[in-house]
Subunit: 374 residues, 2 copies
């Protein structure tokens, strides 16, 4: 990990705290680098917008060459299509529910919507809804390559589901997708091995499906930690990383690959209590930093310039830190920049982000798709 003591906001008193701030420079660089990488390996980039939930950032990603975006929930897609004019959305989630299919049909008037499935029931329910509305919808079959969350098993099971989808005149098998979220290790060689294995399972499954004379254009993989690995497997055609726009301190576990200088989003927090010599409280608790654990750095976030201060306990509005002896910068009223463990859920707690250029807040962007869980 490259440790940098550099904050992105020059005058912290220019914002109230806790405040989500985003470095425009780091954000632009992260977006450009991933776009260039995808291009270099000839894989289409379809970023997951769950990380930022912002129309402005989705548009930056599209402008950098993304073929479309990925959302988890119909409500997120509604914001991105209706308010952001995004015209190509994959719902990379097993969408189940009559109300949701009606909303998807409405969205299909404005954009290409593809939906993930992993069950015969959902295939049947979507097919019925599309038949009723005389529509044909693109389907991604979700594949389990090892995460054991959702998704049908790669290989033979996937082939049977692909045939099932292919049979319905109102469904079009557009692709297979996996989220290789199980790829995680401290050893870079080990991560790479796991990521490549996930990609190979996908390509092998695709070939098995195609051997049954089924057209299958897209082989799609996702996750930022594996973004430089899984998509390099020959036969993968699409990648769906999300976190890369901001990055977070969970990525620090991956050795030199990510550092503080790659983290575009931080929280400015104020020291509000120093009730003991070895303890302080920041005004950022679980309602700001979220409770996601971190395998890459101890505690609930990384304080820029203070790698040895541990954010030890979060209650809702209190971030209680353990201070090493003699640590400076933690008197009442002092501010810090905190990089959260997992950036995605923290963004979802905020209504807006302050955009920082050359050390100054130059704009505020809404977290427009925040809280769209339905």
């Amino acid at each position: 990990m490259t440790v940098s003591a550099e904050r992105i906001l020059r005058d912290p008193s220019s914002v109230d705290t806790p405040q989500l701030i985003v470095s425009e420079e780091i954000l632009h660089r992260n977006i450009a680098e991933m776009a260039a990488f995808a291009k270099s390996i000839n894989v289409q980039l379809r970023p997951h917008i769950k990380t930022h939930k912002s129309i402005e950032i989705a548009r930056l990603q599209m402008a950098a060459g993304a073929v479309g975006i990925t959302c988890a929930k119909v409500g997120e897609a509604e914001v991105m299509v209706n308010e952001g004019d995004i015209d190509d959305v994959l719902l990379a989630y097993p969408i189940v529910g009559a109300k949701k299919y009606e909303r998807i049909v409405k969205l299909m008037e404005k954009a290409r919507i593809a939906v993930a499935v992993d069950s015969a029931t959902a295939i049947e329910m979507i097919a019925q809804a599309m038949t009723r509305h005389e529509r044909v919808i693109d389907i991604y079959l979700e594949i389990n390559t090892g995460q054991n969350r959702s998704g049908v098993m790669w290989g033979d099971e996937a082939v049977r589901f692909a045939q099932d989808i292919d049979r319905h005149p109102n469904l079009r098998l557009a692709g297979i997708m996996t989220h290789e979220g199980h790829v995680a290790a401290f050893d870079p060689d080990e991560i790479s091995k796991q990521a490549i294995a996930a990609g190979e399972k996908m390509v092998q499954t695709a070939e098995m499906i195609r051997s049954h004379s089924i057209n299958l254009p897209t082989v799609s993989v996702g996750s930022t930690p594996a973004a430089r690995m899984t998509p390099t497997v020959a036969g993968v055609t699409e990648m769906r990383p999300g976190t890369y726009v901001f990055n977070d301190s969970s990525l620090f576990r991956f050795g030199d690959q990510w550092g503080v200088e790659d983290c575009a989003a931080r929280f400015v927090a104020t020291v509000v209590s120093r009730a003991a010599a070895d303890r302080c409280v920041l005004d950022a608790g679980s309602k700001t930093l979220a409770l996601d654990p971190n395998a890459g750095h101890k505690g609930y976030g990384y304080i820029v310039g203070h790698p040895d201060v541990i954010i030890d306990r979060l209650s809702e509005e209190h971030g209680a830190c353990v201070l090493p002896e003699g640590e400076e910068g933690f008197e009442i009223g002092d501010t810090v920049e905190v990089i959260p463990n997992h950036i995605c859920p923290t963004i979802n707690l905020m209504d807006r982000m302050a955009v920082v250029r050359d050390g100054e807040v130059v704009d505020y962007w809404q977290v427009a798709a925040r809280g769209r869980v339905q």
Copy 2:
């Protein structure tokens, strides 16, 4: 724990999922019971609104006899005063920051605002702001009775701070407060012992302060788990429970004191994936149920009527459950009611709650103070 298989919403297809629902009947009962208890021991009730962040519920609490409300953040107080016409607010949090003092001064035109402090620096900063605005503000000195988060030590240290506050003509020492959040055990006798000890430390500290000819009207304690215990100590004058309006599955650890039938707020979730026989995925992940752990029930929430199904892993939008063999009610499209581990952060993830009366949704209330972290 009393296990009840009863859901509060009769027709789950009347809502999209995941949906926060609140039983009006249980809510009204919880509010009435706590109000009656406070009255029975002659202690003032000042509920913490962090749990619900709703103007409608704050008004129900006031109508039931609350003397005012408690908030953590200035932004919450702004919503409750400006939009809810609440006229008495304690900010039970060490408020630090010039911008925040300006906002408090503005609020003082409409309501009585009291502020907690636990440092000489904050006392000085608030005194200066009030002097500049020619205002006198009520101060609660925050006391550490064992939680070791914020708050000055009970006893001698507290007396010195009380003298410091009393010295400032623009500050009025209105009370001392503690959050006895450290009171937690599985054994009811042990909890009671800890709670009583916290109350006794507060009363003893109050007497020490008063022995210096300092007027100290209020001795305030807080926390739902200890709400029937700490306030019973003679000399305690105010209590600030929050969670009691809804309750949650964390409270199930306290033996028979709380059960499913006391939990007013639940999430309706849909089974969206059954990729393995012993596993399902609910459409409620950490962005709905939050990652707060639970000492009272395994997993990330309690599924009403299915105490043996464990919500084992939460990713952002996936609630992966372990299903016992033969468990019924978990086919694709089935719905469940989930009582979260910790209700407060989950409410903060939602924009609104559906109010259920006699099994039907009759209204939607906004989570008006959601996300007001500043």
